[in-house]
């Protein structure tokens, strides 16, 4: 088994947190995980991406070749489209519908979303609304991990455990909101 994920978003949105959640769940499930990332631009509003590779045996390279990703998981629609050359023809794009507009030449959001929806395998989630309804607007990335859980080769319970382990030290309210966000994200994508 091999499953390659490109994670994308804007610096500060929580791209690496999503990678950490999925990676933790994979390792506790007995899989091998390898991750490489572009960071340092967090809080600076630049494009951020991470490659996360899961397998049941050794993984040679931490980089995903173009055309090989099973999934692009994105916190922002333009950032999701940016990595299409990495997506295998049968792969899926799972993205938040919410545009992050911090550049003057951002294309019309409807046009961007139409392009996403025209892909053979795409899931678009109103992640901000779902996060807010779950009790924490900051849980957008947990919503998106929930959405991706419908496709990932992982038991949703393992992902939920990863959410629990990650957020337990952040207080009860944050933990509850993130568990709710995970479940709601999963429902929204189903």
């Amino acid at each position: 088994m091999r499953y390659d994920i490109v994670l994308a978003g804007v610096g500060g949105q929580g791209v690496l947190s999503m990678a950490a959640l999925i990676g933790r769940a994979a390792v506790t499930s007995g899989l091998v995980a390898k991750q490489s990332e572009v960071h340092g631009m967090a809080q600076r509003g630049g494009a951020v991406q991470a490659h996360l590779r899961l397998a049941d045996g050794p993984i040679d390279s931490d980089l995903i070749p173009r055309g090989a990703a099973d999934l692009i998981l994105s916190l922002e629609p333009v950032e999701g489209l940016r990595y299409l050359p990495w997506l295998a023809p049968a792969g899926s794009l799972v993205t938040s519908a919410n545009a992050f507009v911090n550049i003057p030449d951002y294309p019309p959001t409807e046009q961007v979303l139409a392009r996403v929806r025209a892909l053979p395998h795409a899931i678009v989630v109103e992640a901000e609304r779902v996060a807010e309804e779950s009790g924490d607007l900051l849980a957008v990335n947990t919503v998106m991990v929930g959405a991706a859980s419908t496709l990932l080769p992982l038991d949703p319970a393992a992902l939920e455990d990863a959410v629990r382990t990650t957020f337990a030290r952040k207080g009860e309210a944050t933990l509850a909101a993130n568990l709710a966000a995970f479940a709601a994200g999963r429902r929204a994508a189903s």
């Binding site: 631009m41 509003g45 630049g46 995903i64 070749p65 055309g67 990495w86 997506l87 550049i103």
Partner: protein, 251 residues
């Protein structure tokens, strides 16, 4: 030879192997001379065709370069520098490495060099000697303490016709908001200790409402024939937030 970085082993192999053994790599062009090794580069070097992928055809996406935070004091300092320099012809603005290097990008486009830590001051001295005027060297407090003091001593000894602008945001912000080595209040003493004329050392507040006032101050120092230092003080927004969180956690 598939080798990251400089073709070190490849060069040695070329000298070592007998003439009949063909060696391919960065030096002979099978691998691009610059850039990291990634799966696409290696596939092409080995003659393996690219995999099919989902098409981006007809899709032009905007770039999303990193930028200064909303309300970052460096932005206010750059607006003041641009205002002060307007109207001069032979200007030069050298800079250094930190968040403030992002001032090279729009909307500021305010700085013209970034080489290595501390280079701004030495390069500004060279530009001043070459006849540029006015010349501004922009350097953050972290970089200044790291390696800006030695070239400042040099510039002070020569009384170079330039202005050093120290952007003192009281943090080494780009690498994760580490605390400065010395508090802001001591920067002044360090600058004076380097031999800078106290008459031409000015400390200003990089407040958004003081942009014009600071531009006027800066212009006065630009017109001074000799070395001047302007320290623009205002705490990094991210550092301030981090400090507030820590205080909240302690309380």
């Amino acid at each position: 030879m598939l080798e990251d970085g400089y073709p070190y082993a490849e060069r040695l192999m070329r000298g070592l192997l007998p003439g009949g053994v063909a060696v391919g790599g960065r030096m002979s062009g099978e691998v691009p001379a610059t850039g990291e090794l990634n799966p696409e580069v290696v596939r092409a070097a080995l003659g393996i065709p690219a995999r099919p992928s989902v098409s981006l055809e007809g899709l032009v996406l905007p770039n999303r370069p990193p930028q200064l935070c909303q309300g970052c004091p460096h932005g206010h300092a750059y607006t003041a520098i641009k205002e002060a320099l307007a109207g001069y012809e032979t200007t030069m603005v050298t800079a250094d490495i930190g968040c403030y290097t992002l001032g090279a990008l729009p909307p500021y486009s305010a700085i013209e060099s970034c080489v290595c830590m501390g280079a701004s001051i030495g390069m500004a001295k060279g530009a001043a000697e070459a006849g540029f005027s006015p010349v501004v060297a922009v350097i953050g407090d972290g970089t200044f303490l790291h390696s800006g003091i030695a070239p400042l001593i040099d510039a002070a000894a020569a009384n170079a016709n330039m202005t050093v602008m120290i952007l003192d945001n009281q943090a080494t912000a780009m690498t994760g908001v580490q605390e400065p080595l010395v508090p802001s209040s001591r920067l002044r003493d360090i600058v004076l200790g380097a031999g800078v004329d106290p008459e031409h050392l000015v400390v200003v507040d990089a407040h958004p409402r003081k942009v014009h006032e600071n531009a006027v101050t800066l212009k006065r120092e630009l017109d001074h024939k000799g070395l001047s230092v302007v320290i623009a003080v205002r705490e990094c927004k991210v550092a301030a937030k981090k400090r507030a969180r820590l205080q909240e956690a302690v309380a």
